[in-house]
Symmetry: C2
Subunit: 376 residues, 2 copies
């Protein structure tokens, strides 16, 4: 099968999550990614669980389809190999703290001196400039500093981290976007450039219109749990054996819900006649809805509401997602054949391209697997 990024060469100094996810997205599309790893131990994530036959599934997901060379960045001979590789590649990706690549003589300016048309993508916690650039950054810190935690969770809970590493993942996606834009420009003009992406900036972008609540409306938005701040009933509701979500933002759908609940009198109830009124009486309406739903299971409630044409769904656990027929059809779970661990089930690629589909089924490299190819 044709690959869109066939022939695009990437020298990848990145470790753990944000950088590797970016280069994984490019490898899935056919780029040749040469991953630079510390001799002996490799990327830290080789030692992150879960493991299958002693092999890290964490590492495997993020590094499938890449090549691995062991390089000691403090060794002059190894650095010479790196400098030669830099002359041959299109893109360098790194996610060290600002200043570290400079110590190795591998900052953008040095790399550009070796390869004037290079694209050089740096992913960091706070970016390459500004008062925070030297601060230690973890996903938790990015979610905290970027404001996402302050609007996630309930009024009565502390600010809450989103359950996955949103700071890393969003930075990976914006870095992929920036790198692909730069690659398109390089293809047309030959010119390379520096691409600088920060986890904190990425989290702030992911806030979308929440930021405007402050810059335009002067509000400092708080935490409202799973409910919609302006529309009701639009929330997670308790049923007999769990929770479901209902997403109703207009009168016709609300009227349907009242009929399903066999409480048509609620339609005329002066607390509930408009979306705005329902929102100001949100708690009272929630009690009514949960009373009604308390005799239904998740499955019963979901089909009842969907059959009536109401936007609603169960809230799936990770296990339910993994077993979901939709995920099979969408190829969102892919098996790779790991040389040691055997068949391992990883997450697929959500961009479904018809002519040049992603291939997420390649194995990750063993540490130094490609030493003999590149370290000659």
């Amino acid at each position: 099968m044709k690959k869109a990024l066939e022939g695009v060469k990437i020298l990848d100094f990145s470790r753990v999550l944000a950088g590797p996810y970016c280069t994984m997205l490019l490898a899935d599309m056919g780029a040749e990614v040469i991953k630079v790893e510390r001799p002996g131990s490799g990327d830290d994530s080789r030692h992150f669980g879960p493991y299958q036959k002693g092999e890290s599934a964490y590492y495997s997901l993020l590094n499938r389809g890449k090549k691995s060379i062991e390089i000691n960045l403090k060794d002059e001979q190894d650095l010479e190999i790196i400098r030669n590789l830099i002359r041959e590649v299109d893109i360098v990706v790194e996610n060290y703290r600002p200043g570290i690549m400079e110590k190795f003589g591998l900052d953008y300016d040095s790399v550009k001196a070796l390869n004037p048309n290079i694209i050089y993508t740096s992913i960091s916690g706070f970016g390459q400039n500004g008062p925070y650039k030297e601060r230690p950054a973890y996903d938790l810190v990015a979610q905290a500093m970027g404001g996402m935690m302050s609007i996630t969770g309930y009024e009565h809970t502390p600010p809450t981290r989103t359950g996955s590493s949103l700071g890393d993942m969003s930075a990976a996606l914006f870095a992929t976007y920036g790198t692909l834009v730069a690659l398109f420009h390089k293809e047309r003009t030959g010119e390379g450039q520096f691409v600088d992406v920060a986890m904190m900036d990425s989290i702030v972008a992911m806030l979308e219109t929440n930021v405007l609540q402050n810059t335009v409306a002067g509000i400092n938005p708080g935490r409202v749990g799973s409910r919609h701040p302006l529309s009701t009933p639009f929330d997670a509701y308790r049923v007999k054996d769990g929770y479901i979500v209902i997403a109703i933002a207009n009168n016709p759908l609300f009227e349907k819900l009242c009929h399903i609940m066999e409480q048509p009198e609620l339609i005329e109830d002066e607390r509930f006649t408009t979306d705005e009124l329902r929102t100001s009486h949100e708690q009272e309406l929630k009690v009514i809805i949960e009373n009604f739903l308390s005799s239904y299971t998740v499955e019963e409630a979901e089909s009842m509401l969907l059959d009536a044409g109401l936007p609603a769904s169960r809230i799936q656990s990770i296990e339910e997602v993994v077993q979901d027929e939709q995920m099979k059809v969408r190829e969102m779970l892919v098996d790779i054949e790991h040389p040691i661990a055997g068949k391992m089930t990883l997450v697929g690629n959500p961009a479904k391209l018809s002519a040049t589909p992603a291939d997420p089924s390649n194995a990750p490299p063993m540490l130094g697997e490609h030493n003999t190819v590149f370290k000659k």
Copy 2:
């Protein structure tokens, strides 16, 4: 200033959030985005708050730098205009429910018949195939079905929605990635293709290694609030006037923390001698840390910990983010000049490219502002 996507033409049928964010990222980089809007009322998001002088800031953020034409997709004359535009553009983007574009004769196959090399990007709740493809999809439903809610929040709270529209935003980013990969392929080969991105798939991808907890380790991960499931102390902690986060995953940093707390005896405490032990005694350690922090303000605690070289930070509200000096330096807040609302402060673009920087400072179009250009 040079723009990387100069000359790239996009016909944009998308509405509200996911599709418009995707084409906004492309417009920021210089693509010409012609937005197709319903005559008279336009994109629904023109009527979403917050407003400035009656103009939607929501719409402005998502549609800056685009052009607007009013088109009735049920009107044969208007459809003829659209068919002519399709022949001239590189990319079509839409986020209707699967089947709707077909009703207008504007599905991929019909569009491809008009322009064989077109890139056609569809963003939907569940994708163009599979048992859920017809289901109504809102961000809340995508976060619920995709498993993200099940791992966000606390053990004692219901599954929790992330505070921003992660289903829309992640789909927008994966669609941008897919579209740019397709654009690179088209630049090199002339060939277009279909790009199909689903909100549910995108949420599942954003789960990152959480999925592997199930596929590889057989665990069904639950909700652990803001803490790290494997490392401690790695959580949000209460201080005198709010919360801070601390992110410690190894012994040397834990020892530093014990010295700061003037409780060096904790280093030898058999409950806390390894990261694993600290995690199994997580609640006890939290009480000790919060007792210590209770006499410090957020500001005091943050500088004390950062000065000692510990990864820690305050948890910023949206207002604090907006006023953060780092965000000014990083140009993550940009002023546009809106023809009616005047100066409006929107969110910047997190991909900082040196040679072809994004320009996020263009005004959004008034409804039908470019009718006379394109409807001739």
